[in-house]
Symmetry: C2
Subunit: 324 residues, 2 copies
């Protein structure tokens, strides 16, 4: 039960300071002692080196990113992992995080505790300190959480640095995330760091809105992505969803959001097969697919079918705030 | 008009990428070029020195921190200033920030633009880069924003470091913020930095939930704050509100939230008069009041009237999520 009309079962029975005390307890060792964690106006972060810092923020909202029937532990874990995926997409190492909650006073304490179980366990797994936050009361029945995550990257991998001739790779398989992976995905932190440590990875992004929408972000101006459509890795979930929706599994793989896989470019100095071999020896359990190449544009834009030269029929992934 | 049923007037007419483009335009020079601002998975922050970093997050919610009739510029400015006040309360220098928006698709674009006018102008005034963020769609009629602000502090001032014998000071005047100051306050950044540069300031906090609730946070265990109640600086607004509510102006000054003034302790090695003179020469336009002293407790707790030894009758400031 997420919301309740029985006040004693809700966070309103605790008051704010009691609620913060609960959260400190729920977080356990993930929340360092003040001033490095909850308890002062700001969290004090000592940067051991003076490497470039990363800063990212991502939200989790009831009705959008999870539902009343979602296990709260998985919702809490998802909030952390969404942000971790952004750090992975820079090839970074995650660091201290802060959390803002916006929730109705009828939120059940037990539900919130379980939500923090998911947060704590995920933070522990990634050795991530959660160093502070904010709680704001909204109307009954509402719940949103915003995590801001810092990180460090010796050599951060950016989006806009690929070139014509580079090969395009994607990890894992794509599509149908709504059937479960949107909760159970693994942020590709180790893989992102490994890519950042190589000199041949020229651009990196994580797939959150779907291949068709996210891929153009790493294609330089004047170029297109020429994809061999039969190499796009279709997930089991994409095939299953396809039976229900009447869309092809390929369309699901190209347009469904929340894959949280890495999409990246590798420059020509490394042969595709050599790169794939290196990958296999380092990450034998995570499929890698070469989707095609970046090539100079002849007027086409975005993504084309390498066989026919035609533009991909599905140009957009998930579009927020669209009334079309 | 904040919300509209006419889709063309709302953010849903833009789609997410269009909306981000709008925001980049609205932010102007406050948003650095990618990868140091909006445009990649994370914002890349180069820390020029390796001084301790600060990280804080604070929300702004429709119906809680502002209302439909609040000028949107002031709402945007308030979001930034709330966070700045936390950096001020550590004696820090603000740095890059990220912003998460949670809003209904019926939010009017013109309203949001004006909201960002307030954000931009405030960021410019404090030389604050806004380096990234997130937008999440919620139900119609809702609007919340969460800002996470980084900062640097050579010698951050904490809460728990005061001692018995220290004098207690507060800037400005207190109470009745709801009549206007909750929007028009000035975060005490310069003052906080000046305090952090002295060796005699032993603890610092900003007043957000009211003197009665915030003061105990800087009183060490086994001590009380003995206040001379006639020295608590009553604002004009506290006096005015008192006429409407029937409470005394003093009660308003002690229990109203959102003063955003600095409350701090100064150790005994500096005489109260000497400190006040130093303050006057540095900040001639901002009133400083010595409220009393921290003294060893004889069983009392929290805050007492220095004349009578009685506990203050109003023990709590604004309490979120309380059903009492």
């Amino acid at each position: 039960m997420m919301f309740s009309t029985s006040a004693d079962a809700t966070i309103s029975a605790h008051g704010e300071s009691g609620l913060i005390q609960c959260i400190e307890n729920w977080l356990g060792p993930v929340n360092p002692p003040s001033p490095h964690g909850i308890g002062d106006d700001c969290a004090l972060i000592i940067d051991p080196a003076s490497r470039p810092s990363l800063l990212t923020t991502d939200s989790l909202s009831l009705g959008r990113h999870f539902h009343l029937w979602t296990p709260p532990e998985k919702a809490g874990a998802k909030l952390i992992k969404r942000n971790l995926s952004d750090i992975a997409a820079m090839g970074g190492q995650p660091g201290p995080a802060v959390l803002a909650l916006l929730c109705g006073p009828d939120l059940c304490t037990d539900w919130l505790k379980a939500f923090f179980d998911g947060i704590r366990n995920t933070c522990l797994a990634y050795e991530l300190p959660l160093v502070g936050g904010d709680i704001t009361q909204t109307d009954n029945g509402q719940f949103s959480a915003v995590l801001t995550l810092t990180g460090q990257a010796e050599k951060p991998l950016l989006r806009k640095t690929a070139a014509a001739g580079d090969a395009l790779f994607v990890t894992g398989s794509l599509g149908g995330s709504i059937l479960g992976k949107h909760l159970d995905f693994i942020p590709r932190i180790k893989e992102g760091q490994w890519l950042a440590g190589r000199s041949d990875c020229s651009a990196l992004i994580d797939l959150t809105d779907g291949l068709a929408k996210d891929l153009p972000a790493i294609i330089p101006e004047g170029s297109v992505a020429a994809l061999q459509l039969d190499r796009i890795p279709l997930s089991q979930a994409a095939r299953k969803l396809s039976e229900e929706t009447g869309k092809t599994a390929l369309e699901h793989a190209c347009t469904d959001g929340e894959d949280y896989e890495l999409l990246f470019a590798v420059n020509q100095k490394t042969a595709v097969n050599d790169f794939a071999e290196d990958w296999l020896s380092r990450f034998p359990d995570l499929t890698l697919s070469c989707l095609g190449h970046i090539q100079l544009s002849d007027g086409k834009s975005g993504i084309i079918d390498a066989l026919t030269g035609d533009a991909l029929p599905w140009l957009d992934g998930y579009e927020h705030f669209s009334n079309q």
